[in-house]
């Protein structure tokens, strides 16, 4: 399952980061931060080649022995990063895509809040619970919300 989910703004500053393991949060910060390099590169290539609808899913950015890092960039250059555990071999590409799609919808809902100022940190509870849901942490709480 996902161990860390991040939303990165247009200017590559963090808008939202959630880790399962808060103690090692900084480690994930570094991982996600460095993966921006690759995201940027992939976006650059995308610009050059395809003028038509770009594939939002960027695929795996890089992998280490412990984690696989996947990226997704919206048309407005908002980046989503999901860190998965490498040991979880059963997770297929399609499932990762699904996770990103969910995240994208949750994000779109969060920024539709009229009180949200674009560029600010995301502090929506609903977005938070959606992320927790993707990370598989928040089954009960989601029910409560509903």
């Amino acid at each position: 399952m996902a161990v860390c989910i991040a939303v990165i703004g247009k200017d590559n500053s963090p808008k939202y980061i959630k880790c399962t393991d808060e103690a090692n949060a900084l480690q994930f910060h570094y991982k996600i931060h460095t993966s921006i390099d690759i995201v940027e590169e992939k976006l650059n290539i995308g610009n050059k080649t395809a003028a038509d609808v770009r594939e939002l899913f960027l695929g795996m950015l890089y992998s280490t022995e412990e984690y696989k890092i996947f990226g997704y960039a919206t048309n407005t250059k908002i980046k989503f990063i999901i860190v998965l555990q490498s040991s979880n071999a059963t997770l297929r590409d399609n499932e990762v895509r699904m996770m990103f799609r969910k995240l994208h919808i949750a994000y779109a809902n969060a920024v539709s809040d009229p009180f949200y100022i674009p560029g600010d940190q995301i502090q929506s509870k609903i977005f938070n619970s959606a992320v927790m849901d993707i990370m598989g942490l928040l089954v009960d709480e989601k029910k409560i919300l509903k």
Binding site: N12, A25, L26, T34, D37, K42, Y62, E65
Partner: protein, 1186 residues
């Protein structure tokens, strides 16, 4: 990329691994001849070595040779400064790792030194004896030698020195290039011969070539097996390929590699297969990208650093031999085996995968990754380059810390070269931390700090706080915070507390919002500790490396909640002296706004008041201490620009986690002009900070502009009267004065104005402002302007005095309106002849019970209905004087002193100080009631007043020239005052339109001007004057007060009667009474009834008019005069015979039956009676018995 088989095939103990990785290698280095450049001995100067090396590298790094078959060979060389001999062990595996040439430099002064240099050279030769082909020694001696290769005369080389020496006397080194190319040529030819030798070896006789760690893998294997033979052949072919490549025959090398790959693949010799692939890639890269090779590999630390491959940017670097790379098609025709560009990296990948299978080949693998990365960069395939580099990171080699550092810095360089700054910084930071890791035997905090500093850019961490402001900050706060903390730690440990202070200050300034309260506290405490060693100040720090660390300021500690300029105190504010407006023509307003743009910009942060040169000006701030401990902030000053400003330092201690605390910063402007207030400076936690408003969050203006006007004088005002306890607020008030005055009393107040400034006062204007109407005001306050002007100019520290005369102007007549209504009411019921209002005695008796002094008294004078209306009365008075009812009568006034001088006056400014004056007006005497009575003479009448002494003191009341009365406190009494009747000339102002009010007014003014009541409180000096203005007069009173419009001429027995004449007659005598009436008015009188009545006055208030039996009248005693023209005269006579003796009076009166005078029409409610004019006094006749 990593093989799952990793480590399986390697021996577990890496005893002879290559311990000196060369991360700078490129694929092109496979084709180079390795030459070591080494300075010997301590004599030679570094500069000389550098210069010589440069020359050698320039001439030798790429040269051409004509081979035996007349083909031109392009030979590449690589010069290095150091070569661990262990690396030669891998020379069989990859021939370019062998050291083939040696060039040493040395300087000698005498034979011994020369011998030593020779010995050292020979030692080096021995060290690399296994691989070395040729060597040269460049020796600098004291004298030149005739033959370059021979030692100079008187010097000899030792006999065991078998090297070609090159002897120079100075470092100009003529012919160095020729000498060197000889050396290079010789190296080439030896290499060529080795290659030929290899190529001629019998294919089935070749020995097994081995990588260093493989030696014992083959123990016990059947060396004669077919498999092994294949292996030998494959390895030898690959080796030959290496040699061909070095010898400038890439085509042959390609063929050899290709055949080696085929052979080795069949025997699963993965390590060598990998190297064959790598060789293939190297040849292809060399051909496809001829310009990629390094140019100046030795100058890592020199100014030529830009050229070193680590810093290579995308695309090939410019070299002197730059030529357009040939197209792939042409190359493919010449060399069919060459790899296509996209295949190079694929093959490299394969090679690396094969290497990973051997743990001992870790270095080879890492080097291959770096080489592949460089090619990827050349091909602009950054993602591929990144994947090669990330592979390096996974390579879990046991390395010492230094090697790790090298690996990380190389990684960082490469990442930087293709723009992956984040990853580069990540690696740099790791390298930095390796410098100080616990496994590192030689900790180097300085290096750690330097690397960390280089890493900042990748984390978007600018050390300039301006670039890290809230609006334009970038990057990841949590990572940045960690990095800053590491910088602080490194700076601390390397013994540079100033840097630590700076970084901590920076942390608290820029990252404040991202720190948790605990972190803030920790950082603040740490800063406090560090700054004790080195105080922080807002100046840039320059590091040894030349890097400048910009200043940081503690803008958040203490936190500024508000920052506002204060206007001067009201009495110090400069005011524009109003001038008579110049005539600007008829167009006062223009819709065309000329300076509109300009105005908008200046309005920003511009305050709309003025400060004065030389006066203390203040800024009020609200500070919050966010830290959980007491914060001492010292030396707070204002930061300004523009005109000269002297700030006054301020210190403050903020309690832990305080709420807002107000602080006032002050200073004195010293020039005239615009002053810009930029912020303030503080000194807290051992750090001096310049907190500029534009760097502080949520400040409305980045700076404030205030205009400074020229110096103005200041004054101190004192009065001779005691101060007021409290007064209603007013502007500019500097002092106050209060006094109690009884009505009609006057007092003086001396106001002393002292100039307490350094400039003279040249202008003073005094005015009074109060709620009184201007007429009363001018009565109450009086002063002499002339007296004041004579005292000007007022020099500094000198004083001027002005006397203010105050007078308690008061209404002495109580409740006049009531009296009118009351009098009217009473008159309608009572006879005219009543000498006074009948209710008076009862009123007087009630008044004595009263103890309260003021308005309650007056209201309670009225019984019954009148008390209802007292409220309305007092409210009318209230509105007139604007004082509270209970205070009876308090007059508040402000004496405005407008003054100016020197430069301030010249530029049209002044200041206004006010003295607040409170006059409590106490009632002295009050006239509660009044009436008029006819006097003994027709020209006068008696004004009868009921006077109350409203004070608690005994009072002496002078009411005429020589009459006075003593009254106890609160006593009332009745006094008659003879007053001249109001002459007609006063009334003449009333013309046809005149009405009752005008008449009333004139009459009461007439009374007020004549009646003069002076009072003195017995036993005190208090004296005063009561005026009778405001008396309300009824119609009847008015008739008395006015001179009669009829002039009487009475004759008794044809003798003109005079007042006070006594007439005596005898009983039965006939008296002839003649009455002449003349009209003194300027209009005719109509319907007059002239009557002559006789009566007896019993002197007890009863007049007996029924005298039928006592008097007989001959002739009409009543005549009607239809009209009496103006200045006309009428005469009537009758005779009277008295039948009994006694006192008689004759009442002669003339009454108008209706409105007689159009012009004097009033009192319609009295219409039945009309006017009655009497002859006053009545004629008295004494009738005696005969």
């Amino acid at each position: 990329m990593r093989s799952a088989l990793s480590v399986i095939l390697s021996s577990p103990v890496p005893d002879n691994k290559m311990s000196h990785p060369d991360y700078e290698q490129t694929a092109h280095d496979h084709a180079t001849i390795l030459i070591l450049l080494k300075p010997l001995g301590a004599q030679i100067k570094q500069k000389t070595v550098t210069r010589i090396c440069e020359r050698i590298i320039k001439c030798g790094s790429r040269f051409s040779v004509i081979d035996s078959s007349n083909n031109t060979r392009e030979i590449l060389t690589r010069f290095i400064k150091d070569h661990p001999v262990e690396n030669n062990d891998w020379g069989d595996f990859q021939t370019h790792r062998r050291l083939l040439g040696l060039i040493t430099f040395g300087k000698y002064e005498n034979q011994i030194e020369l011998n030593e240099l020779c010995r050292l050279h020979e030692t080096l030769k021995v060290k690399y004896v296994q691989t070395l082909y040729d060597s040269r020694a460049i020796l600098f001696g004291p004298i030149p030698s005739e033959n370059l290769n021979e030692p100079p005369p008187s010097f000899t080389t030792p006999h065991n020195f078998k090297t070609v020496g090159i002897f120079y006397a100075d470092d100009l080194c003529p012919n160095l290039e020729i000498q060197m190319s000889q050396c290079f040529n010789s190296l080439f030819w030896i290499l060529e011969s080795k290659r030929l030798e290899r190529s001629r070896e019998k294919i089935d006789k070749v020995a097994l070539l081995q990588a260093p760690f493989e030696k014992k893998d083959f123990i016990g294997l059947d060396l004669e097996s077919r498999n092994n033979r294949e292996r030998c052949v494959g390895r030898a072919t690959k080796h030959l390929g290496d040699l061909c490549l070095q010898a400038g025959l890439p085509g042959d090398a390609l063929n050899n590699y290709n055949s080696a790959i085929g052979t080795l693949q069949s025997v699963n010799d993965w390590l060598w297969l990998g190297s064959a692939y790598e060789g293939l890639c190297a040849v292809s890269a060399l051909i496809l990208y001829p310009n990629m090779c390094r140019n100046v590999p030795l100058q890592r630390n020199s100014s030529l650093q830009e050229g070193s491959p680590g810093k290579q940017r995308r695309g090939s670097q410019p070299t002197t031999t730059l030529c357009a790379p040939p197209t792939i098609e042409t190359i493919k025709m010449n060399m069919p085996n060459i790899l296509l560009p996209e295949d190079i990296c694929k093959k490299y990948r394969e090679a690396i995968v094969h290497y990973t299978k051997y743990q001992n080949a870790g270095i080879i693998e890492t080097e291959a990754s770096f080489k592949a990365t460089r090619i990827s960069i050349e091909q602009n395939c950054t993602l591929q380059a990144a994947s090669f580099l990330s592979n390096v990171l996974f390579n879990n080699m046991t390395m010492n810390e230094q090697e790790k550092i090298d690996r990380f810095t190389t990684l960082s360089d490469l990442y930087t070269s293709f723009g992956y700054l984040r990853k580069a910084s990540f690696c740099l930071r790791h390298a930095a931390l390796r410098h100080v890791s616990q496994y590192n035997p030689n900790l180097d905090w300085q290096q750690c700090y330097n690397l960390l500093l280089q890493a900042t850019s990748g984390f978007k961490l600018s050390l300039d706080p301006v670039e890290m402001s809230f609006d334009n900050r970038k990057g990841w706060p949590s990572i940045q915070i960690q990095l800053i903390n590491e910088l602080v730690a490194a700076a601390n440990r390397m013994g540079h507390p100033a840097l630590a202070t700076r970084h901590l200050t920076f942390l608290l300034q820029t990252m404040y919002n991202y720190l948790t309260p605990t972190e803030r506290k920790d950082a603040a405490l740490q800063l406090q500790a560090v700054s004790q060693q080195s105080e922080g100040s807002p100046v840039p720090l320059v590091l040894d490396s030349g890097r400048v660390i910009p200043p940081a300021n503690l803008t958040n500690i203490p936190r500024t909640k508000s920052f506002a300029l204060k206007n001067l105190q009201p009495h110090l504010q400069p005011q524009k002296i109003e001038r008579v407006k110049e005539d600007h023509g008829p167009f006062l307003f223009t819709p065309i706004n000329f300076g509109s743009l300009e105005r908008k910009t200046t309005a920003k942060g511009k305050v709309d008041y003025l400060w004065v040169d030389g006066d203390i000006c203040e800024v009020s701030m609200q500070l919050v201490n966010p830290l959980p401990f007491e914060l001492h902030v010292s030396n707070m000053r204002l930061l300004t620009s523009g005109v000269v400003f002297e700030p006054i330092p301020e210190s403050i201690t903020l309690p832990a986690e305080s709420g807002t605390i107000a602080v006032t910063l002050a200073g004195t402007p010293r020039e005239v002009g615009e002053l810009e207030i930029l912020g303030f400076s503080t000194h807290t936690l051992g750090v001096k900070s310049n907190c500029r408003l534009r760097h502080i969050e949520s400040m409305p203006h980045p700076l404030y502009t205030v205009e400074i006007v020229p110096a103005l004088p200041r004054i101190n005002v004192e009065t001779s009267l005691p101060r007021t306890a409290s007064f209603s607020s007013g502007e500019n008030i500097v002092t106050s004065a209060s006094i109690s005055l009884y009505g009609g009393e006057s007092a003086e107040c001396t106001i002393t104005i002292t100039n307490i400034s350094q400039v003279p006062i040249e202008m003073i204007e005094i005015s009074v402002q109060s709620t009184l109407d201007s007429l009363t005001e001018s009565k109450v306050f009086k002063w002499s302007n002339e007296n004041l002007l004579t005292q000007l100019p007022l020099q500094p520290q000198s004083s001027a005095c002005i006397t203010l005369y105050m007078y308690a102007a008061m209404e002495f007549v109580a409740s006049q309106r009531h009296d009118i209504t009351n009098a009217y009411q009473s008159q309608s019921n009572s006879l005219i002849s009543h000498s006074g209002p009948s209710s008076l005695p009862s009123r007087l008796s009630t008044s004595s019970h009263h103890t309260k002094r003021y308005s309650e008294l007056t209201s309670s004078f009225r019984s019954g209905t009148s008390s209802n209306s007292s409220n309305s009365l007092s409210s009318t008075r209230l509105s007139k004087l604007a004082v509270p009812i209970h205070a009876s009568n308090i007059v508040e006034g402000q004496l405005k002193i407008k003054f100016s001088g020197s430069a301030g006056l010249a530029s049209g400014y002044c200041r206004i100080s006010s003295v607040f004056i409170t006059i409590e007006m106490l009632r002295s005497v009050q006239f509660t009631n009044w009436d008029v009575l006819p006097a003994e003479t027709p020209t006068q009448f008696y004004l009868v007043l009921d006077v109350i002494n409203m004070t608690n003191h005994e009072m002496e009341l002078h009411y005429t020239q020589n009459k006075c009365i003593y009254m106890e406190g609160r006593e009332s009494c009745r006094i008659p005052i003879p007053v001249d009747r109001c002459p007609f000339n006063k009334l003449s102002t009333i013309d046809g339109a005149g009405n009752n009010e005008d008449l009333q007014k004139i009459c009461s003014e007439h009374i007020a001007s004549l009646a003069d009541l002076k009072w003195q409180l017995v036993g005190t000096e208090t004296t005063g004057k009561a005026t009778l203005s405001g008396l309300a007069l009824t119609q009847d009173m008015l008739d008395l007060v006015r001179m009669s419009p009829l002039q009487w001429e009475v004759t008794i027995n044809d003798v003109v009667f005079k007042a006070q004449d006594e007439i005596t007659c005898n009983l039965g005598e006939c008296i002839n009474v003649g009455v002449g009436v003349s009209n003194a008015l300027e209009s005719p009188l109509r319907n007059l009834i002239l009557s002559i009545n006789l009566y007896q006055d019993h002197h007890n208030g009863v007049n007996n008019y029924r005298l039928d039996t006592r008097v007989s009248i001959a002739g009409a005693n009543k005549v009607i005069l239809p009209t009496l023209q103006e200045s006309g005269r009428a005469y009537h006579e009758c005779r009277v015979v008295f039948l009994t003796a006694g006192q008689y009076k004759i009442d002669i009166q003339c009454s108008s039956r209706e409105s007689i005078l159009d012009s004097l029409t009033f009192c319609s409610e009295l219409g039945n009676s009309g006017h009655t004019w009497r002859y006053i006094p009545p004629i008295e006749i004494k009738v005696e018995d005969c």
